[in-house]
Subunit: 271 residues, 3 copies
């Protein structure tokens, strides 16, 4: 199973670098720069557009859409609703990052609305995924402190599987071990370094990197697994040359730009 | 006096790293990423939320609030009013950074409004503190050029003491020498490097780092002194390994993440 | 001709470092931090203010204004209209960056409106300049993919000259070769490195750096040429010490801070 979903990672990475898919991001104020740079380093062409007068036009021509709830406002929420709807109508994949859902009521309600637009992939930490699953009828209680999870990813795995089954989305739960599931299959990815929790926007980057993979393959499960592997291996490799969270960020972009597909597969730690 | 306010710096820093206090930031567009990373490197858990539909809910559960006037808009100003009120009502400390107050009329009026919510600590450069003191009845004329001060911190010290006495806030004036005062006591901190004025958001970072100290100690004067020392010593230490304003920023985060309390005290230059 | 427009680059750079001109930026969410840091590293004093209640007041006292359409919203568009008008009325130079104009209808209409306020300099990539020229009556079809150009700068040179002639603005077309034209004269600058297209906001930085040169010289053509040379030489020099797009950004700020005028002229590759 794992081999099937990872074997063409080098080809997909090369396709991203060759085609530079246009990735539309409606994301948060903290990570706009970080996300754009990570997408550029990978080889994609990011566009950060959240204007309600422009999002539908861009979502139709972009190759994939990323919606991140980090710093929502009423106008940004409106842009998300318009953008998700336009992407779906144009047959474009979209990824949702439910930042801090469960911890704050307004964004939890918005996330429930956006779920109705059927995201292709949902990525969050254990608290966020658990909260989203509970809202969807899974019936467990959420736990979270702002944007940081208070649960382990393993504790959220059953909730993630239920969320995937009910919504049709691929669900990624980030943590010391990352899990990707479509409700039946589960791939665990053990790459990545704890320092990534001391750098803002690493989760948002993990979400954003899924979009270019969705743009080059119709297999959303494989896209989510491969992007999560790239994220984790880039983190491991960057940490080998970093001395703290500042130099880590610098090395992460350098590594993302240079890593080759075969090297990534060789470093992947899957279960 | 100085010994009293700095002796437990190592314990407070350790408490921040152990408890990861949730710091709510309503801040400016230029520094959201920088501020979040500095708080994470120190050991705190930042949340950047400025949505008027969410700020009260978050301010009540967060351990401290930071309000920074750098890029205000009418909706951001509304969020600041709601957030400050909610923090005060919930008994949470809050820090105000009056960016460019005195230079522009709209934000000067907003700053006066926010002062009525009694910030726990106010941190600014000499021009900003002088302008704020003048608005509060101190009667001097403000001087400032956009966000950069045209006065030395020493020139603003008497104004800072007056502002502290009238508002009950601890006041920090940043400059080549930083001063912290409660209106009677004054601690001067000579750490820090001039290159910090060539990196955007260093003042905003100095403000933000006060919040986690307020979250772990009820002594607001000590919290402001200790955070200001950490900021200055981290700057000094980072400059030892930096070659300019780009590498300084990288080193600053690495140093903030790694510095130990005893080392910080040993490097502090107090008066 | 070239000698005339570059000979006083060292003096102008020194004037920026001595006077620290106040540069008002109404720019996009992705690059606020990057732009502020580049302006600080060069020696200018940036202020990022986009509040409709403050832009006119600041535009009148600032030494130059930068308007960047990257992440426009209705309120940011309103701020741009107010700011451009106030700058012109106060006799201050202003620079326009028509990010992604041509690719999205709303911003193309806004760009046409802003052109009526007669920007001193316009800087964009080939797709953006071609689109702007077409809107202005040049009659060619635009090509662009989000924020990235699908045309070479040489292909846009005739359009750039026409745009300059019709608007009275100096026009800069960025690409592997950068062109600066006033409609008659053309200076080509071959500095810069392809990795700059893999770092977000490098075009926005190229735009912003023109403003402090406009603040210290009345010769707008020379200001645009000199700023474009500084940008390209700083890029070349940074790439000598960088290993990818992350370390490039760090080195770029260090270099911009340290480069001396004579060294810049020695490294300039002009045609």
């Amino acid at each position: 199973m794992t081999a099937d979903t990872t074997a063409n990672l080098p080809q997909n990475l090369q396709a991203i670098r060759d085609r530079a898919p246009l990735i539309h991001n409606i994301t948060n104020l903290v990570v706009t720069n970080v996300t754009a740079n990570a997408l550029l380093a990978l080889g994609a062409s990011p566009a950060m557009v959240e204007n309600t007068d422009e999002v539908a036009e861009l979502a139709r021509v972009a190759n994939a859409l990323v919606i991140n709830l980090g710093t929502i406002s009423s106008s940004r929420a409106a842009a998300m609703r318009i953008g998700a709807r336009a992407a779906v109508q144009a047959g474009k994949p979209w990824v949702m990052d439910p930042v801090a859902v469960g911890a704050l009521g307004y964004r939890s309600r918005l996330a429930a609305e956006l779920l109705a637009e059927r995201p292709t992939v949902i990525r969050g930490n254990a608290s966020e995924i658990t909260a989203l699953a509970a809202m969807q009828g899974g019936g467990v209680t959420a736990g979270g402190k702002g944007v940081d999870s208070t649960l382990s990813s393993a504790a959220a795995l059953e909730e993630a599987k239920g969320l995937a089954s009910r919504t049709g989305a691929i669900v990624v739960v980030s943590g010391a071990m990352d899990y990707v599931t479509d409700g039946k299959r589960v791939t665990g990815i053990a790459n990545g370094h704890p320092i990534m929790t001391r750098v803002t926007g690493m989760g948002c980057t993990a979400t954003a990197l899924i979009a270019p993979f969705l743009a080059v393959t119709p297999d959303a499960f494989a896209a989510a697994v491969q992007a999560t592997i790239v994220m984790g291996v880039a983190g491991d490799t960057a940490m080998e040359m970093a001395g703290g969270p500042g130099s880590f960020q610098v090395a992460f972009l350098d590594v993302l730009y240079a890593l080759e597909g075969e090297e990534i597969l060789a470093k992947a730690r899957l279960t």
